[in-house]
């Protein structure tokens, strides 16, 4: 019993001493316009702007790190970075392993994109591995074809490997718009997830509170909506 108390005290003390001097932000860097590596080789996009602003408001020194999407949660838990800011939708499954801040991007539609309007949405559908869209495709009874990066899912449709790609509509919209009529939205949009939030270790409650407050302040003064409009265009859902 004594040992147990001691251990609890130690955990409490070390928790309090867990004041981070640098907060490392982990992102994928392959999901424009959410996050991508720009031509200068730096992290850019909507989340770069949001992350920098949040760190400023929370008075934190932040540093950007890129990590492959597939292992982005295990590396957070292992402490290689402190925050996931990678267009990650808030879902119950993920809530079981990590914690989320409040959303900084509203619940958004996912959509199918194909080469032809009569594409078979019960056929082979491309989606990025470990995304809510991949989970949805598997449950919807279509044949799921998974890829490591978002770009490859679109390429799979272009070269005929998949009948359609299923992904965030905000990611697909610029691709469809710039394809010169080659690609088009097919079928109904699907509402998935509870919006995009920051992913944090469940034990980092203090850090989460700081980011929650910063996101709230950005929502209150409208600067978040301004950034959403800047990166996603005026038609996107806002707060």
């Amino acid at each position: 019993m004594k040992k147990l108390l001691l251990a609890t005290a130690l955990i409490a003390v070390s928790g309090a001493a867990f004041a981070q001097d640098v907060v490392r932000l982990g992102t994928e860097g392959a999901y424009p316009p959410f996050n991508f590596i720009n031509d200068a080789g730096e992290v850019a996009g909507f989340e770069r702007d949001v992350g920098d602003e949040l760190c400023k408001r929370a008075a934190l020194t932040c540093e950007w790190v890129t990590n492959e999407w597939d292992s982005i949660i295990p590396n957070l838990q292992s402490g290689n970075y402190d925050v996931i800011i990678a267009g990650m939708s808030i879902t119950d499954e993920r809530e079981e392993v990590i914690d989320f801040s409040q959303n900084y991007f509203p619940p958004a539609a996912s959509a199918y994109v194909a080469l032809a309007a009569d594409a078979d949405l019960k056929g082979v559908i491309a989606a990025q591995v470990s995304t809510i869209q991949a989970g949805y495709v598997a449950e919807a009874g279509a044949t799921l074809l998974e890829f490591a990066t978002p770009d490859e899912t679109v390429a799979a449709v272009r070269n005929g490997e998949a009948a359609a790609v299923f992904a965030d509509k905000d990611f697909l919209a610029p691709i469809v718009a710039e394809s010169g009529g080659e690609l088009m939205f097919v079928g109904e949009d699907v509402q998935l997830g509870g919006g995009v939030g920051l992913g944090l270790r469940s034990s980092d409650t203090e850090l989460r509170a700081k980011f929650d407050a910063a996101i709230q302040s950005m929502k209150d003064d409208g600067s978040l909506n301004a950034l959403i409009e800047l990166h996603f265009g005026p038609e996107t859902a806002k707060f």
């Binding site: 001493a17 392959a30 424009p32 031509d39 492959e68 838990q77 402490g79 290689n80 610029p174 270790r201």
Partner: protein, 292 residues
Amino acid sequence: MFAACADPKAIEGLTWALCYLTSGKHIDFYWSFVTVLTLLALTAPLALAMGFAGATAARSRVLPVRVMGKSYAALVRGVPDIVFFLFFVIALDQGIEYLRSLAVCGGGEWPWQGLEFRVCPEAKVPLGRAEAAWHQAYGFGLAVFTFALVFGAFATNVLYGAMTAVPQAQLETAEAYGMSRAQVFRRILVPQMWVYALPGLGNLWMILIKATPLLFLLGVKDIVYFARELGGSKTQAYEYPHPDWRLWYFLGLLVFYLVFTSLSERVLARVSARLNRGQATAAGEALRKAAT
């Protein structure tokens, strides 16, 4: 890089291509070739050293040492590379941080709490506030060690086989001259085993070259990562939008790998000729005949 590249969307043709190929990301791409070559230059001797140690241990007359050498080769060779690169590295990283936490954190707190791994900030390797370059160097160091461990196991087997291939009569003769076991090993066995080890080691080198894309699993951005990233189709969100050009980037890599492996083959052929000189092998005999 150049003044003309300030507004990439306004330029076209050759200027565009020149600006595109010298963008910051492309410079990173070119540097990643250096990263890969450095990895090879560091890993190859380290793996060879581990293989030599493993093979020597596997031949030891002391049972625990022999078991260690043999089980190192058997265990590591049996585990699929990709599993090794996914799990071992995380375990190694956490192990290092755990050991450091014992030294600097004070409390004997067990860091594995549920799914999370937590040590005090002072025990992080490298420290959270360290420069990004240190994080990269640390990741690179882990990569070199992991590659050396995996390829060292294969080298152990190759060198063990080479050591047993040296004719027994040579060793017995040396002993008859009064050499100690260590002297026989150093003067007779090791100088002669290389000729038997070379084909196997050459194979390992070729496989190592082709295994470098596994670097990305370890968080090191290698040439294949950049080829995929740069080649993917780019929307107007980027400064240089373009369609899917992965084919061209991967063709470039194909050329790089082919040139590199064929150069390696030439060097290996030379080393082989040098090692066979004066050996009592068919190749050595052929060299002797060609010379007379």
